[in-house]
C-alpha cells in the first residue's frame, strides 16, 4: 500500500518535472526571434509562401494553442496538412520535424544506440578509474600519488572536452595512428569494430568525468575511514583487504552512486561536444542541430527525452541506493 502510494507520487512528480521542462523549453524558444517557417519557405520567400508554410506547420495558432497541440499529440497523435500530402504522426507523437521530414521519435530512436554506447562505455571506464584512483589516493593521503592524481584530476576538470578530444585525435589518431578517429559502427554489425571506434571517445569522456569521481571517492573514503565500524572491523581482526574492499567501499559508493545517476542521465541525453568532435551520430548532435535550425518540435522532443532520462536515472539510483544501503529502503 505504502509502496503503491510512493510509486504513484513518484510518477506524478516525474510527469510534472517533464511538463515543466518542456514548457520552459517551449516558452524560451518561442520567444527566440526566429521563424521556422522561414526555413521551409525557400529562396526567394514571398509573404504568400511564408503564410502557407506557417499554416501547414501549425504556426499560425496562438502560442498556447501550439503548446497544447504538441502535448495533445503525445497522447493522440497528430496530422499536419490535408489530403494526399498530409503527414501523420502516430501517438505517442513527440513532434514531427519538418526540417528532417521525420517523426521526432524515429530520429531519437535512430540516435539512441550511439549515445548509449558512448555514455555507458565511458561511464564504466570512469567509474573504475575514478573510484579506484580515489580509493588509492585516500589510502595514501598526502603522498606523491595523492598529489599526482589530484593534479591529473584537475587537468581533467579544467581541460575542455573539445580540447582533449581534438588533441587525442591528433596524437593517438593521426600521429601515432593507433585508433580510428571517429565514426560509429553498430554493435550488431561488428562488436569489435564498435568498441574499436569508440575507444578514443570513451577515453576522452571518461577523462573529463573521472576527476569528479576521484575527488568524491577520496573525500568519502577519508570520511568513512574515520567511522567507528571501520575501527570495529579492524579490532576484530578482519583483513585489511576486507576492511577497505568490503566495509569501507560499500559505504563510499553511496554518494558516488547518486552523482553517477545524474551524470549518466544527462550524458544519455547527449554528450554534445564529444559526439561532435568524434563525428558520432548521437543525440547530442541532434539536439544541437535542433537548436541551430530552430526545429522546435525536435527540440521539444529531445529535451523531453533528455529530461526523462535524467529523471529515470534518478529513479534507478534510488533503487540502487536501496540495494546498497538498507536504511534507505522503503517500508
Amino acid at each position: 500500500m505504502r509502496a503503491l502510494r510512493f510509486t504513484a507520487n513518484r510518477i506524478a512528480s516525474t510527469l510534472l518535472v517533464l511538463l515543466v521542462v518542456v514548457f520552459i523549453t517551449y516558452v524560451v524558444f518561442y520567444l527566440v526571434p526566429s521563424d521556422p517557417a522561414q526555413l521551409a519557405c525557400g529562396r526567394p520567400c514571398t509573404e504568400q509562401n511564408l503564410a502557407l508554410a506557417r499554416e501547414f506547420m501549425g504556426l499560425d495558432d496562438p502560442w498556447w494553442r501550439q503548446f497544447l497541440d504538441y502535448l495533445g499529440g503525445v497522447v493522440t497523435g497528430r496530422t499536419f496538412g490535408v489530403g494526399a500530402t498530409s503527414i501523420h504522426c502516430a501517438a505517442p507523437c513527440f513532434g514531427y520535424s519538418f526540417q528532417q521530414n521525420t517523426d521526432v521519435a524515429v530520429l531519437i530512436a535512430e540516435r539512441l544506440p550511439v549515445t548509449f554506447s558512448l555514455a555507458v562505455g565511458a561511464a564504466v571506464l570512469w567509474l573504475v578509474a575514478g573510484v579506484g584512483a580515489g580509493v588509492l589516493a585516500a589510502l595514501r593521503r598526502g603522498t606523491a600519488w595523492d598529489r599526482i592524481t589530484l593534479a591529473g584530476s584537475v587537468a581533467g576538470v579544467s581541460a575542455p572536452v573539445y580540447l582533449v578530444g581534438l588533441l587525442g585525435i591528433l596524437v593517438l589518431g593521426f600521429t601515432l595512428d593507433v585508433v580510428p578517429v571517429g565514426g560509429y559502427v553498430p554493435f550488431t554489425e561488428s562488436p569489435v569494430d564498435w568498441a574499436w571506434h569508440l575507444v578514443l571517445p570513451w577515453l576522452v569522456l571518461a577523462f573529463a568525468h573521472a576527476a569528479v569521481y576521484l575527488r568524491l571517492t577520496r573525500a568519502q573514503m577519508l570520511e568513512v575511514l574515520g567511522e567507528d565500524y571501520i575501527r570495529t572491523a579492524r579490532a576484530n581482526g578482519l583483513r585489511e583487504s576486507s576492511v577497505i574492499g568490503r566495509h569501507a567501499l560499500r559505504n563510499v559508493l553511496l554518494p558516488v552512486v547518486t552523482v553517477f545517476g545524474i551524470d549518466l542521465g544527462s550524458l544519455l541525453g547527449g554528450a554534445v561536444i564529444t559526439e561532435r568532435v568524434f563525428s558520432l551520430p548521437g543525440l547530442g548532435g541532434l539536439l544541437i542541430d535542433a537548436v541551430n535550425q530552430r526545429d522546435l518540435p525536435l527540440l521539444l522532443g529531445c529535451t523531453l527525452f533528455a529530461a526523462f532520462l535524467v529523471v529515470l536515472a534518478n529513479a534507478v539510483v534510488d533503487l540502487c541506493y536501496g540495494a546498497l544501503d538498507p536504511r534507505a529502503r522503503l517500508t
Binding site: T232, R234, A235, G237, L238, R246, H247, R250
Partner: protein
C-alpha cells in the same frame, strides 16, 4: 600465582602532547579490572594502543605483554591474529560500531571466519550460538543494524568481541549510551560471559556504580597517569588518593534501599490506585490523572504527541506549580522530550491543551506568543550542541535579550555579566567560544541563558547526563541554589533517578507515552506503586559494592536477565 594474562609496563601514548604516561597495570585470567577516571585521562588511548588501533599520529612506548608476548612488537599480520581472537573489544557507541549496510549475522560470520578456517556452514552455526549466548533470538541474524535497538546492538557487538573465545575482553564504556534498565542487562551479560567463558575483562568506565557492580579490581587514572589501584572493596571503602576520594564523593546514588514489596493503595477509579497524593495506574492503557492545584505555572491535559501514526505521548496530564520542581523520569523513548517539545512549541501536539500561566499556548499568535515564549527557559542535555559554536559566551547569553527586549550596549553587557556571576562563571569568559570551555562551564552558560529573562518556567531536559560525575555534581548544586534563589517552576527531565531524587519535589514516571505513576518524590522513589517504577529503581546501580550486590539480586528477582 600464575603470571598475569596482560601486563602493561610503562606504557606511554603521545599525540602532540602526551595522552597517557607510564601506565602500569596487569590483569589475570578470569579477572575483571575496571579503569576509572575523569574524561580525557587516557583510559581509551591506553586500551586502543594495545591493539594498535590508535591513529597514525600517535607514538606508543613501553611494553604490553599479552600471554608473554609484547603486543607493541608484533608485526601487522601477528597483530591481526590477536585482534578479535586473543583479545576482543567492545566499544562505547553500539549505534555506530556496526557497519550499517551489512546484516548483523553476516558481520558476525565474517569475524568468525577471519580467524581459524571455519566453513560457511560452521560459521553460521557459530553465529546462532553466539546470538543465543548474548540472549538474542536467531532471527536477529537477518537484521540490519538500524533495525535493532541500542541494547540489542550492544549485545551484537559483544557477541562479535567474544566470537573467537578471546582470553581478554576490553570493554570501553560499554553501557554509557544505554538506558539504566538496558545497562543492567548488558552488565549482567558481561558478568555471565566471564563466568561461562572464563575471559578476563578490562572494563573502562566512569560510572562508579558499574565498577561496584562488576569489577574485582580497579585502576584510577587522572591526567594520563595511574593514581591508585587495588581491589574494588578496598579502594571504595578507603580511597587513598585524594582524587579517588573526590571522585567517589561526587557520585550521586539513590539513598533508599532496593524497593520492597509495593505498599498497599486504594483504587480510586477503575485502573487507578492512590495513596494520598501518590497515584499510579494499574491498567496499561491509562495515564495517571492529574490534579492541578490553584494557579499552576504549567498545566498539561490530555496531551498527545504523534509522529505519523505513532503516538509518542498519549493523553498525558501534568502540572507544575509555582516554585515547584517536577521530575519527569522514564527510560529512553518513553516520551519525555516530546512533552518538553510540546511545552516549548518545538512540536505541535496532536491533541490536548498546554496552558502556561493560565494561557493556552496554541491559541496565542504573534506578539503574545512571543511574550509567552520569553517566559519559558530551557536547558538542554548536551551542552556542546546547545550553544552555537560560532557565538561567544556573551552573545549566547545575550540572545534572549536581543530577541525580547530593547536592551543593547553597555546595559546589555551589565546584564550578561550579572548572569555570568549568577552561574558562578568568571566574566573573563565572556569572549570565549564554546569549544574553549569545559563541559561544566558550557552547561552553566546554557543555564545562564535559560534564566536570563527570569522565566516562570524552566525546562531542563536531561541537563547533566552528558557530564562527568564530578562536574555533574557541581552543576546540580548550582541548579538547586538557583532554584532556591529565583523560585522558578521547573520541569526536570532525567532518566537518572538519583538525580531526580536530589532535586524534585514531585515525580512523574513516564512509560510508553503515558504517566504510570506520579506523586511526591520521596514517596515515589522509596515506595513505588507501579512495577515499572520498581524495575527502574532496582536497575540503577549505586557506587557501593556491598549495597550494589543487594540491589542486583533484587533486580534479578524482579524480572530476571534478558
Amino acid at each position: 600465582m600464575t603470571p598475569p594474562l596482560l601486563r602493561l609496563e610503562g606504557v606511554s601514548v603521545a599525540f602532540d602532547a602526551p595522552a597517557a604516561e607510564e601506565v602500569d597495570y596487569s590483569l589475570a585470567a578470569g579477572e575483571v579490572l575496571a579503569v576509572v577516571g575523569e574524561s580525557g585521562s587516557g583510559k581509551t588511548v591506553t586500551a586502543l594502543s594495545l591493539l594498535g588501533l590508535l591513529p597514525g599520529a600517535a607514538t606508543v612506548t613501553g611494553r604490553a605483554l599479552f600471554a608473554g608476548r609484547d603486543l607493541f612488537a608484533l608485526s601487522a599480520e601477528e597483530l591481526r591474529a590477536v585482534r578479535g581472537n586473543g583479545i576482543g573489544m567492545v566499544f562505547q557507541e553500539p549505534m555506530t560500531a556496526l557497519n550499517p549496510v551489512f546484516r548483523v549475522g553476516d558481520q558476525l560470520a565474517e569475524v568468525v571466519r577471519a580467524h581459524g578456517g571455519r566453513t560457511a556452514a560452521q560459521a553460521r552455526r557459530r553465529v546462532d550460538e553466539l546470538l543465543a549466548l548474548v540472549g538474542l533470538p536467531p532471527g536477529a541474524r537477518r537484521k540490519y543494524p538500524h533495525e535493532l535497538s541500542g541494547g540489542q546492538l550492544q549485545r551484537v557487538v559483544i557477541a562479535m568481541a567474544v566470537a573467537n573465545d578471546p582470553a581478554l575482553l576490553i570493554a570501553d564504556e560499554p553501557t554509557t549510551a544505554l538506558d539504566v534498565t538496558v545497562q543492567a542487562e548488558v552488565l549482567e551479560l558481561l558478568r555471565d560471559l566471564r563466568g561461562r567463558l572464563d575471559a578476563a575483562i578490562l572494563l573502562i568506565t566512569h560510572d562508579m556504580g558499574v565498577v561496584a557492580d562488576l569489577a574485582d579490581r580497579v585502576v584510577v587514572m587522572r591526567d594520563g597517569r595511574v593514581v591508585e589501584q587495588g581491589p574494588v572493596a578496598e579502594v571504595f571503602a578507603a580511597p587513598r588518593h585524594e582524587y579517588t576520594r573526590s571522585l567517589l564523593d561526587s557520585v550521586i546514588s539513590l539513598s533508599g534501599p532496593p524497593p520492597a514489596e509495593p505498599p498497599a493503595a486504594v483504587e480510586v477509579s477503575p485502573g487507578v490506585v492512590a495513596r494520598g497524593a501518590h497515584v499510579a495506574v494499574t491498567s496499561p492503557s491509562l495515564s495517571a490523572p492529574d490534579r492541578p492545584g490553584d494557579d499552576p505555572v504549567l498545566a498539561l491535559s490530555g496531551l498527545t504527541v504523534a509522529y505519523g501514526r505513532f503516538r509518542a505521548v498519549d493523553g498525558v496530564g501534568l502540572h507544575v506549580g509555582r516554585g515547584e520542581v517536577l521530575g519527569l523520569v522514564g527510560e529512553s523513548g518513553s516520551g519525555k522530550s516530546s512533552i518538553a517539545g510540546a511545552v516549548t512549541g518545538l512540536v505541535t501536539p496532536a491533541a490536548g491543551v498546554v496552558e502556561l500561566a493560565g494561557q493556552e499556548l496554541s491559541r496565542l499568535r504573534g506578539r503574545a506568543a512571543k511574550r509567552a515564549r520569553g517566559r519559558v527557559g530551557v536547558v538542554f542535555q548536551d551542552p556542546a550542541s546547545s550553544l552555537n559554536p560560532r557565538a561567544t559566551v556573551a552573545r549566547s547569553i545575550a540572545s534572549p535579550f536581543l530577541l525580547h527586549t530593547p536592551l543593547r550596549g553597555a546595559e546589555l553587557d551589565r546584564r550578561v555579566d550579572g548572569l555570568l556571576d549568577a552561574v558562578r562563571l568568571s566574566p573573563s569568559l565572556r569572549d570565549r567560544y564554546p569549544h574553549e570551555l569545559s563541559g561544566g562551564q558550557r552547561q552553566r552558560v546554557g543555564i545562564a541563558r535559560a534564566i536570563a529573562l527570569d522565566p516562570d518556567l524552566l525546562i531542563a531536559d536531561e541537563p547533566t547526563s552528558a557530564l562527568d560525575v564530578s562536574v555533574q555534581a557541581r552543576v546540580l548544586d548550582l541548579f538547586r541554589a538557583l532554584q532556591a534563589e529565583l523560585r522558578f517552576a521547573c520541569l526536570f527531565i532525567s532518566h537518572d533517578l538519583a538525580v531526580v531524587e536530589r532535586l524534585a519535589d514531585r515525580v512523574a514516571v513516564l512509560h510508553g507515552g503515558r504517566v504510570v505513576e506520579t506523586g511526591p518524590a520521596d514517596e515515589v522513589l522509596t515506595a513505588p506503586l507501579h512495577p515499572y517504577t520498581r524495575r527502574l529503581l532496582a536497575a540503577a546501580p549505586v557506587a557501593d559494592p556491598v549495597r550494589q550486590r543487594e540491589r542486583r539480586e533484587a533486580w534479578l528477582a524482579l524480572d530476571g536477565p534478558g
